[in-house]
Symmetry: C2
Subunit: 513 residues, 2 copies
């Protein structure tokens, strides 16, 4: 049975580190595990294998250091931890857009609409939401696919985004963050046959939700390498290599594409997307298009092309292909991660399969309604002529402008460091630079049972307070090392962080000469 070790994702690092922390915390716990029903040996083996580096051991260690700094017990030479590990905008100072918060507050507590003289566009969105809520309350369960009006607004948004191509709200379900929707679609694809696992093609490097879910569901990961030499594009020869090597070992069914890319920051060209669609057609694959960063496009000449739009432009031969696309409230320019809002548009599903999907969703009751309110605002923001429009656009442009500035600056500073190269941050919220690690450091890492880039990142954290995620947490070509940093901290903090990093790297290389 295929496990994930081939992907060089540190299977033991997280578990051992966390177990260390938990053991020290549980010093008082004297009962032998023999008396317990559940122990490390008999528990769910899939959960043991799962890893999620974005909140992994490094981040746990960063939390400990932060606590010591706060208490004043720290001996560190720095006075703050810079959290560049997670795509969490508000955590590092981005402010919520008032319009979205007014709509959510208004839906939760409609008294405030009059008492705070909320403008007509806020009231309009609140009404659209509450009209779809039984008892006119966001405290009711909604339909399991989400509030009808919101799904219709999602469909309008998609249609408008894609230049008028039809989008049916019946193909859309709201979900508790894109992750929740992705897991639901992957769930349908599983064979539940250990001898013939469902094969899912995933990009390397990838956002580790995919490897974590594949581990949890006991699916068969089929990694394909993004082409670092070509701006992290998908490389059809490598896709074919992946199929050739793996098709006989699993029931290959799906391909995941993340565009814009996480952690890589690439924005795929229309041609590249067409090539992937042709490849998926030829190999009879269900496409999962993770498009949560569709509002985060920075590079000149880059443009977001939705898989749906490109598929639609390729004619009748491709028209019936199964495609699930995902969007979230967590990214873009509103960055409302905590709301856990999102949608999935799944087209061309077999009707019987769709019925099963609806049934599966019904057992989860419904996505959280405040999150549904948030996705309503993401797809139906103030329009020109509406009262909130000007301020909204001002805020939107500021956030996206700052991100573009930081993307450019990050790319530039990283590339200025001897021994580090970084593809252009074309979109999304991250840079994924390649770093050269001296052999001595690699050896040192091995003696500690760590991946070399994790070793680097731990030293970076301990010395400077900068918290990033090692490339091994996302996957990378053997023999290469990377780390992922976000571009989210404020401009001056990012600059300071990158300068510190530059300094640290030089010292690190010197130390392990």
């Amino acid at each position: 049975m295929q496990r994930l070790s081939r992907l060089r994702i540190p299977l033991k690092t997280h578990s051992e580190t966390v177990r260390g922390f938990v053991k020290s915390a549980a010093m008082g716990d004297k009962k032998g595990s023999g008396s317990r029903v559940l122990n490390i040996d008999n528990m769910n083996p899939n959960v043991k294998v799962m890893e999620y580096a974005v909140r992994g051991p490094l981040v746990i260690r960063a939390g400990q250091i932060e606590e010591e700094l706060q208490k004043g017990t720290s001996k560190k030479l720095f006075n703050q931890v810079i959290r560049a590990n997670i795509g969490d905008c508000h955590a590092v100072g981005q402010t919520p857009l008032p319009f979205l918060r007014q709509v959510v507050a208004g839906a939760a507590y409609p008294d405030m609409l009059d008492k705070m003289n909320m403008p007509l566009d806020v009231r309009d969105r609140v009404n659209r939401i509450l009209d779809g809520c039984r008892g006119h309350s966001i405290g009711s369960y909604t339909d399991s696919v989400g509030i009808d009006n919101i799904r219709k607004d999602v469909a309008s948004y998609i249609s408008k985004r894609d230049g008028g191509i039809a989008s049916n709200h019946t193909d859309i379900f709201l979900c508790g963050g894109a992750s929740d929707g992705i897991k639901s679609i992957l769930k349908l694809l599983m064979t539940e046959e250990p001898g013939r696992q469902a094969g899912v093609m995933i990009p390397i490097p990838q956002y580790p939700l995919y490897t974590a879910t594949i581990a949890e569901y006991n699916a068969f990961p089929v990694p394909y390498y993004l082409d670092e030499a070509n701006k992290w594009a998908l490389d059809v020869p490598d896709l074919e290599r992946a199929v050739k090597e793996n098709a006989s070992k699993c029931d290959l069914r799906a391909i995941v594409v993340i565009n814009p890319g996480n952690p890589t920051g690439q924005v795929l060209s229309k041609q590249n997307i067409e090539d992937v669609i042709k490849f998926a057609k030829k190999n009879h694959l269900f496409i999962l298009a993770d498009e949560v960063y569709q509002h985060n496009i920075y590079a000149k000449g880059s443009e977001f092309h939705s898989f749906k739009k490109v598929l639609n432009s390729m004619g009748p031969e491709y028209a019936g292909m199964e495609l699930a696309s995902f969007m979230s409230t967590s990214k873009g320019y509103m960055g409302e991660c905590g709301f856990r809002g999102g949608y999935c548009e799944a087209v061309n599903l077999d009707p019987d399969v769709r019925a099963m999907l609806l049934k599966f969703l019904s057992a989860k009751l419904c996505p959280n309604v405040p999150g549904q309110c948030a996705i309503e605002v993401v797809v139906n923001p103030p329009k020109q002529g509406e009262p909130s429009y000007d301020l909204f656009m001002q805020d939107k442009n500021k956030v996206l402008g700052d991100l573009a500035t930081k993307a450019k600056m990050t790319t530039q500073i990283l590339n200025s460091i001897d021994g580090i190269t970084c593809n252009e941050v074309m979109g999304a919220m991250y840079a994924f630079p390649k770093i050269t690690i001296p052999q001595k450091a690699i050896d040192q890492a091995k003696t500690k049972g760590m991946q070399p880039d994790a070793f680097f990142c731990f030293e970076l954290l301990e010395e400077t307070g900068i918290c990033v995620v090692p490339g091994s947490g996302f996957g990378q070509r053997e023999g290469t090392f990377h780390f992922r940093t976000t571009i989210l901290p404020p401009v001056d903090q990012i600059k300071m962080m990158l300068d510190k990093l530059k300094e640290f790297y030089a010292a690190f290389v010197h130390k392990y000469k």
Copy 2:
């Protein structure tokens, strides 16, 4: 491999009905399923088996009728559908408690605190929440176990509820509704070995989240019958029967207890809980205590005894037992279903297992933050002396008073119907009456491939507009028939509904004499 057919839960009814609906909607879809990647034959077989009657075919049909009534195209003799199928308070007219909504709105849009002169207790809760949010925003991801302050408040609540017994916030994780927490704990318990599935004891009748999750996870259901003749208490001889019959067929690991009961409405005595704990100890079982209705106690002499409190009173021999207890924002007297908020307190977990749980939760990032705000209010409502206290208590007492009235009335009216008997609704939000179905109707149901009580419920819906859920959706002893109605509609509507039901039942019995 054990499947769920033994539980007499209609495995095909939902799927076939929904497929019918979807097929008619998809008339325009001419593509053969042969060209698709995913079809009914190769998709996840576990999802095919899952059923969730609370939102099943009857409810789908109720929605259709509602739509026709709304459009004015209906030929029905009634003018509204009475939705007594789901524990959704606000959907049938219960109003949100202002304090909770003020806290949520204040956390989402802090400007309103001053502008609407929010009282100090609202501000206090908002501060407790926002202090635990990075960037002071509910739009940030929180810790995967939920905001620290809230977990501490949950611990205080539990401790106070249980007469001062210690509760550690480190044993607590917040979740997206109790369902989400229950699924996480069940996930840990799975063996992922088809030849030796994890066995989970579940009450019959039960809330169908459990059978649905067992199907989804391919666990082995070990049903035990609640004793209808003894107020739906747990019956130790039957628990032992269940173990004897099934222990060799699975890796028996856990027992689920729902108290107060859904659908049965029983409130377990302290003695009964002790007996179950002793049984669980003897059979080396992990206890899952679904206690979401702990605030819904109506019957004279009934009292909520938490499993934790009873466990604690049983001395050192039992002290180390693994126990996970669940609570939700959806029930009680606030009824905030749409927020998808809840908590789990899991005590005596093996530290390594706990580390794996934390890791599993980290891959889900965090529970939705508005839901976390809601659970904060549930466990930390206005205290005596706080400004919102009086109005809050007034509302609370009104809701619980009405529920108690409706519980009593429902029990009484159902028992007054010849051919129907109903145990006292001691707590929760439902009545689960036993009904006698004439043989002719049973035969008619069989020709239609339906469970007899589903047949009854469909006719009830079509004739009167009353939507309840057939007992076969929850499980019941062979040869018995039940349905579950909520007690949530307003008093006058419930009375009207029960009178209609009485009339209909008499006519039904006559029709199928």
